[in-house]
């Protein structure tokens, strides 16, 4: 990569940074203007003395009687040094958020990988035999999975898990949590315990992704199937499958990678239902609970994290294109 690649790339990174700053500022104003942390105190019967409530809200920069811009100034100067402040009940947002990012990553990693690979594989397969009976069956099934809300899918999987355990008379899978609390055993047993906890949520994450990605990948492949270069490849004696996998798949991976990186970035902060149903205390649940408690700093922090993820996804997909796609070097 020469200057001609690096300079525009840097320019785009800078542009994204400005966008990011604008986005997080908007998020803070929105959260601070619409959420009501005071309710946590006022809803107690009897509520604590008003002066004490103000003091507690002031301590966390959450007091709605402080001008919004003043609160924003305090908040943004904290962000500048990487401090997201405190929750209404006094916990460090940074620490809680990093714990929860860990949980979300552990929850989503396997499902996301499975979703990407499965989606591409399924979409490539159906895309090369459009309107065949296999394609119709897969289409119907994926539309079904896409149209079922994630929470319903998760609860259904959980029911299946409970039922399977009952039928088997043993704990094949565990339906809640990341690991059995207080579990003692060797490394192998611990790993198995975690695996049994991971099966159902991984399916709940992967199935909708497979369904969605496969639709996207199917149409990308279908566009290529009639292309000149594929006919040439087949004329040289390749089977249809060989030609699709060796040639068409490569071409389609560029737009697919961009699409995947954005949707994975969104996934990190949006799996509240999967997290709640399976009892994993991740980022999505954090946002959900924080909104419920009017916890402005926590909401803003999660949204910032989401914005950073999306920005990073953009940078990654730029990078991928710069490296893989020869055309981008010409522009």
């Amino acid at each position: 990569m020469g200057r001609r690649v690096v300079v525009p790339l840097l320019r785009r990174v800078l542009r994204r940074a400005v966008l990011l700053f604008t986005a997080v500022s908007c998020v803070y104003f929105l959260a601070a203007a619409t959420l009501h942390p005071r309710e946590n105190f006022e809803a107690q019967r009897p509520p604590p003395p008003p002066a004490a409530v103000d003091a507690a809200l002031d301590a966390a920069n959450l007091n709605d009687r402080t001008p919004l811009f003043q609160r924003y100034a305090v908040w943004i100067s904290g962000i500048a040094v990487g401090d997201f402040g405190r929750t209404w009940d006094g916990a460090s947002v940074n620490e809680e958020l990093s714990r929860r990012i860990g949980v979300s990553v552990r929850l989503l990693a396997a499902g996301a990988v499975l979703g990407c690979i499965g989606g591409v594989a399924l979409g490539t397969w159906t895309g090369s035999r459009v309107r065949g009976s296999a394609d119709r069956a897969v289409t119907a099934l994926s539309l079904l999975v896409i149209s079922v809300p994630v929470v319903v899918l998760a609860v259904a999987l959980q029911h299946v898990g409970v039922w399977a355990n009952q039928v088997a008379g043993m704990d094949l899978v565990r339906v809640t949590g990341e690991a059995t609390p207080g579990f003692s055993g060797g490394v192998g047993e611990q790993a198995l315990d975690r695996l049994r906890h991971l099966v159902l949520p991984t399916l709940a994450v992967a199935l909708p992704q497979i369904a969605l990605y496969s639709r996207y990948q199917r149409s990308l492949i279908a566009d290529q199937v009639g292309a000149e270069y594929l006919r040439t490849a087949r004329a040289k004696g390749m089977t249809r499958s060989q030609a699709v996998v060796r040639h068409a798949l490569r071409v389609t991976l560029i737009p697919a990678a961009a699409y995947f990186s954005y949707s994975l970035a969104v996934l990190l902060t949006s799996t509240v239902f999967t997290e709640q149903v399976f009892g994993w205390h991740g980022v999505g649940e954090y946002l959900f609970e924080a909104v419920g408690q009017g916890d402005v700093n926590a909401v803003a922090a999660v949204c910032c994290f989401g914005a950073v993820c999306v920005t990073a996804a953009g940078v990654v997909s730029d990078l991928v294109r710069a490296v893989v796609d020869p055309r981008s070097q010409a522009g």
């Binding site: 959420l35 009501h36 005071r38 309710e39 946590n40 105190f41 006022e42 809803a43 107690q44 019967r45 009897p46 509520p47 604590p48 003395p49 002066a51 004490a52 409530v53 003091a55 507690a56 929750t87 209404w88 009940d89 006094g90 916990a91 809680e96 714990r99 860990g102 949980v103 609860v155 959980q158 898990g161 409970v162 355990n165 704990d171 565990r174 339906v175 809640t176 949590g177 990341e178 690991a179 059995t180 609390p181 207080g182 709640q276 149903v277 399976f278 009892g279 205390h281 649940e285 419920g292 408690q293 009017g294």
Partner: protein, 554 residues
């Protein structure tokens, strides 16, 4: 609807013997003598929130989960039995004496064996520091409330460090509600330690259990039997509290991952759980009750006759049935704001205002000048319609349904109810507390110490510096000097009989003032493994965590 449920229950009787929940009891904990409880075992207890602040006397620490966990860990000087009577807890307090002349003095003789997990003994100094912290004299302490503590003149050492002498400036009959639970001096002596010492940790304990682990990632709290415990040792080896969302609690229970959790009546959980094998539903009535509060300062509701008409126009049995019908219980309305039917001294003080009587209600409205051309039409006075705003929190379907029932009942007497749904996180701060509503329903929760729990909800307004009345936490904005006098009388009467008399007097006066219509007690409902003993729905009482365990199998 009820008949249908009963008929269905009848059909399935052969399949399942536990179709209807047991009738309300004072406590449903499967009380078993501890000799018959197995030594050992782990109880996994599902909770639905993971507290940040573990200091229960801090503003942010007043959560059900905090109390559930801490009752296994911190000293409770007085236990409450299922009839709401307080008794000294011999693990911490071996003798109590009260003198009243010239002022009220409560002397606690502490169990000298009792010690904190740091090894330090529990002494008068712990009580003295906590009384000072919660007295309200230093606003740096982010304390939840000061009721009772603000009446203490001093706490001093008795004949030795194991005797606490509590001198009250003004008498306080509900002194057993104080110091529950007790915190070590180290964490009450200065505001910083008080505010942050129990933040995301439980550093010092003194109970039958110890904290083994507080896992902030998995949101679990693991307690293990305290080897240094001086009382009867805990039967269980460990208790693990797991935090899960309501739906996940159901699944975890069915999966065998948790053994006990509080069920919500409002969801489908009860139906889903109750027929699971090896499951027992334990339900009891405690001090929590639901009520409808009227705002006595709005132009229409300022008139006591209109408030009474509303009281008479609401059929509370229908509301109780709608809320508790799932359990198959006979609806029972509550006619007292302070004492529960399980408690000695409970009396129905409703007089003429507790019955459902739409005719009388209509007549009252008529006499107050609210008239309608046709029965059933919205009444008007001076051209203004009799329209009232019932506010309900968004996203809580039972509250909406309840408001709709009230709406249709009051429509019959010509009162137009406009149901307004407001964001749940603004209900109190933007609507109830500032008096921006006509009707609202919510739950009063308590521990069976009626004055300690709710005093400020009933006290008359106090004029501020500009002579404007301040209602503080009396959100009904109705009061009278007589009510205040009766409540303070109850607060000061050390003789239980006099206190009950004063409470009933205050309650009767509140009925006459049309202040807040009590509806029904909210049941405590727990799904429990049927082999578990001494745990479940404690009603008004306190659980003894040392006795919880699995029944010895024959």
């Amino acid at each position: 609807m009820l008949t249908l449920t009963a008929a269905l229950a009848g059909c399935q009787a052969e399949v399942d013997h536990r179709q209807a929940a047991p009738e309300p009891a004072t406590a449903a904990i499967n009380a078993v003598d501890r000799a018959l409880v197995a030594d050992g075992g782990t109880l996994t207890w599902g909770i639905n929130e993971f507290p940040t602040q573990w200091n229960p006397h801090h503003q942010a620490g007043n959560l059900a989960a905090v109390h559930t966990v801490l009752e296994a860990l911190l000293p409770i000087p007085f236990r409450v039995d299922e009839r709401g009577e307080a008794h000294p807890n011999p693990d911490y307090v071996i003798d109590v004496s009260v003198t009243t002349e010239p002022e009220q003095v409560v002397t606690l003789t502490l169990n000298p064996e009792a010690a904190w997990s740091t090894g330090d003994p529990i002494t008068w100094r712990d009580y003295a520091a906590m009384a000072e912290a919660l007295s309200g004299s230093n606003p740096e302490y982010q304390a939840l409330g000061t009721v009772g503590y603000d009446r203490i003149a001093e706490v001093r050492k008795g004949k030795n460090k194991y005797q606490v002498v509590i001198v009250f400036e003004q008498p306080f009959s509900e002194y057993p509600a104080l110091f529950s639970p007790l915190l070590p001096e180290e964490y009450t002596a200065d505001p910083e330690s008080f505010n942050t010492g129990y933040l995301e940790q439980i550093p010092v304990t003194a109970g039958p259990f110890d904290v083994a682990e507080l896992d902030l990632v998995a949101q679990t709290i693991t307690l293990e039997r305290n080897a240094d415990w001086w009382g009867d040792p805990a039967r269980l080896e460990a208790i693990i509290f797991r935090t899960l969302a309501p739906d996940a609690l159901d699944a975890a229970f069915l999966d065998g991952s948790i053994d006990l959790y509080a069920l919500s009546l409002d969801s489908g959980s009860y139906e889903r759980i109750r027929s699971a094998p090896g499951t027992e539903i334990r339900a009891a009535l405690g001090a929590d009750y639901r009520h409808i509060t009227l705002n006595g300062q709005t132009p229409i509701l300022k008139d006591v006759d209109v408030r009474h008409a509303i009281f008479l126009g609401i059929n509370r049995e229908v509301l109780a049935t709608a809320a508790l019908g799932t359990l198959g219980w006979e609806p029972r309305v509550l006619n007292n704001r302070f004492l529960m039917p399980e408690q000695p001294g409970y009396a129905d003080n409703s007089g003429e205002w507790g019955k459902y009587d739409p005719d009388r209600a209509a007549q009252l409205l008529e006499e107050a000048g609210w008239t309608a051309a046709q029965p059933g039409e919205v009444r008007t006075r001076d051209g203004k319609p009799l329209t009232l705003r019932f506010i309900v929190p968004q996203g809580y379907a039972p509250a909406w349904e309840e408001a709709e029932l009230v709406q249709s009942m009051l429509a019959e007497i010509g009162v137009d109810i406009k149901i307004t749904s407001v964001p749940g996180n603004q209900l109190f701060s933007k609507y109830v507390q500032p008096g921006n509503y006509d009707l609202v329903a919510f739950v009063n929760s308590g521990r069976g110490f009626p004055v300690f729990d709710s005093l400020h909800q009933w006290l008359d307004a106090v004029d501020d510096a500009d002579g404007k009345p301040q209602w503080r936490t009396n959100v009904g904005r109705i009061g009278s000097p007589e009510v205040d006098q009766a409540l303070y009388g109850a607060l000061e009467a050390l003789d239980r009989g006099t206190a009950i008399e004063q409470l009933n007097k205050a309650d009767r006066l509140l009925w006459e003032l049309g202040h807040t219509l009590p509806l029904y007690q909210r049941p405590q409902i727990y799904a429990v493994r049927d082999t578990l003993a001494n745990v479940g729905a404690p009603g008004l009482g306190t659980l003894d965590y040392a006795d919880i365990g699995y029944v010895v199998q024959e």
